[in-house]
């Protein structure tokens, strides 16, 4: 079983969100479970800084050897920062999905409607398999 840190929030699109508790800027990345399912990530496209995003929008993509997947924004808001390191070295998504492999940060207007706790996400992925 891949790791699911307790202090993060999750979505059914296999993304994690950090910073929801602290204020109005959240960091978004892909879960370890998703990274494992994808295999070696070879390309990551993140949204432009300054872009306005809406929860559920496809805002980027992640490609592995065998597949390509959309990255959906889990929140409404404005992209304030992206991770240049993960664009240069997409394998960070595999090696450190909750750390160096983060994707982008969004200044949110309001709390997202629906996020999962670590326990809920764990139950969700075991139900999926």
């Amino acid at each position: 079983m891949s790791s699911i840190p307790e202090d993060l929030s999750y979505t059914k699109e296999h993304e994690w969100l950090a910073g929801l508790d602290d204020g109005m800027t959240v960091t978004v990345g892909i879960t370890a479970h998703a990274a494992e399912q994808l295999g070696d990530v070879v390309y990551v496209q993140v949204p432009e800084v300054g872009a306005t995003v809406t929860a559920g929008d496809a805002v980027g993509e992640v490609e592995s050897t065998k597949s390509v997947s959309d990255i959906f924004s889990p929140v409404d808001g404005e992209v304030v920062e992206t991770n240049p390191a993960v664009v240069d070295d997409p394998s960070l998504v595999n090696s450190d999905p909750y750390g160096e492999g983060w994707l982008f940060r969004v200044r949110i207007e309001h709390e997202p409607d629906e996020v999962l706790s670590a326990a809920e996400y764990g139950a969700f992925i075991s139900g999926e398999s």
């Binding site: 295999g39 070696d40 992640v62 490609e63 597949s67 390509v68 959906f72 999926e128």
Partner: protein
């Protein structure tokens, strides 16, 4: 994040496993933590860990593959060679015992039914190795096509497991495990040759063939011998860097080597000439063969200097190798465009470890292939520039 519609191989999970057949090595794969996937009705290892690391291991040391899903069909009898000459596009009757040949089975109109390796095991015994998904059909077709010759066709796929050791250090790994006469012959065994022997105490047909663009061996063994042989090979290859390798790396390895995959580059809608493999069609053999008339017509236009009418009669398209200038990966089914017009379609694509860029095989129109300028692949709506390169993308140093 949600997997897009383009996911080519989905990791296999859950209850539908009962729908797929398992190879004798399934428990071994599970104990190694493999991600299993359904492939051609078989539950096969997609990767064990990082598919890039598996790819690199095969290029620099060696990889260990389970290919037990492949079909083994035996054609025997005094006229077996003649039967294959009629049934397939190649000239198999002149194949020497102990040698192998890459060939194809086509239908009456020259469409490819499968690509095959035929091994001549004895004067009157041939083993035809077919792709897993096609094996029952190939066996049926061979039975029908061999009938006039009296040759006996037997699908013995269930009698064989197939383990491949591929990579520059394969011979080293196998040498220490091979016993008897085969041990002495192993180093000198030619590419596309096969000998019976004993490997790690297991009786095997040892073939120097593969699908990775590297030196390597394929070992045909009894199903009950597969797991002990796998373990012995893993043990023997530990120091050498032998790594279990799944279908994901097998696909990127064969693509770099410019080798076609049935279902992608080769289908019933393509002829050997479309695929740039016209050389496997042997018009110089005596007698008729299935597809001869149709293929001869295409070949005439291929070799003739008169280009007129090629769109209707000759191979109207070309299989080409493409290298992307950007980092997004052209994938199976994506349109190839020039100046906004669709001129072809990608059949296989992947990030290439050896080139450091995405590569693809694509069928494009003759005219687009001849000039080669201004080509792009439509990657989900964006025209990403690509260049035609000579195949293979990767060639091993001898």
């Amino acid at each position: 994040m949600t997997e897009g519609e383009d996911a080519l191989i989905r990791p296999f999970r859950g209850a539908s496993a009962i729908m797929s057949r398992s190879t004798p090595l399934r428990e071994v794969h599970e104990s190694l933590g493999a991600t299993l996937t359904d492939f051609a009705g078989w539950l096969m290892p997609l990767r064990y860990g990082s598919e890039s690391a598996e790819h690199d291991a095969v290029r620099t040391a060696a990889g260990l593959f389970d290919l037990s899903h492949m079909g083994e069909i035996f054609v025997t009898g005094p006229r077996a060679g003649e039967a294959l000459d009629y049934a397939l596009v190649g000239r198999l009757s002149t194949l020497g015992p102990g040698r192998a040949r890459y060939t194809m089975m086509v239908n009456e109109v020259g469409g490819i039914l499968d690509d095959l390796i035929v091994y001549r095991l004895g004067d009157e015994e041939f083993m035809v190795v077919a792709n897993a998904a096609n094996a029952p059909m190939v066996a049926r077709e061979l039975t029908e096509r061999a009938q006039p010759s009296g040759a006996v066709v037997e699908d013995r796929s269930d009698d064989y497991a197939l383990i491949a050791v591929q990579g520059p250090r394969s011979v080293e790994i196998l040498r220490g495990l091979t016993e008897g006469g085969a041990a002495a012959e192993l180093d000198g065994l030619k590419y596309y040759a096969i000998i019976p022997g004993t490997v790690a105490g297991v009786s095997a047909l040892i073939a120097r063939t593969g699908y990775t663009g590297e030196d390597g061996f394929e070992l045909f063994v009894r199903p009950q011998d597969a797991a002990p042989l796998w373990q012995a090979l893993s043990e023997a290859g530990k120091e050498t860097g032998l790594t279990p390798a799944g279908l994901s790396s097998r696909d990127t390895l064969r693509l770099e080597a410019g080798m076609p995959l049935y279902g992608n580059e080769l289908t019933t809608e393509t002829t050997p000439f479309d695929a740039g493999l016209g050389r496997v069609v042997r018009f110089d053999k005596p007698g008729d063969f299935v597809g001869r008339a149709a293929l001869a017509k295409i070949a005439q236009h291929e070799t003739g200097t008169e280009e007129t009418g090629a769109e209707e009669t000759g191979a109207s398209r070309r299989l080409v190798g493409l290298v992307a200038r950007g980092r997004r990966v052209p994938r199976h089914g994506y349109p190839v465009t020039r100046g906004g017009e669709v001129v072809g379609e990608v059949t296989s694509g992947a990030p290439s470890r050896s080139l450091g860029r995405p590569i693809a095989l694509a069928y494009i129109s003759r005219t687009a292939a001849e000039s080669g300028d201004g080509l792009a692949v439509d990657i989900r709506g964006a025209q990403e520039p690509v260049d035609i390169v000579d195949l293979p993308f990767y060639r091993r140093s001898k």
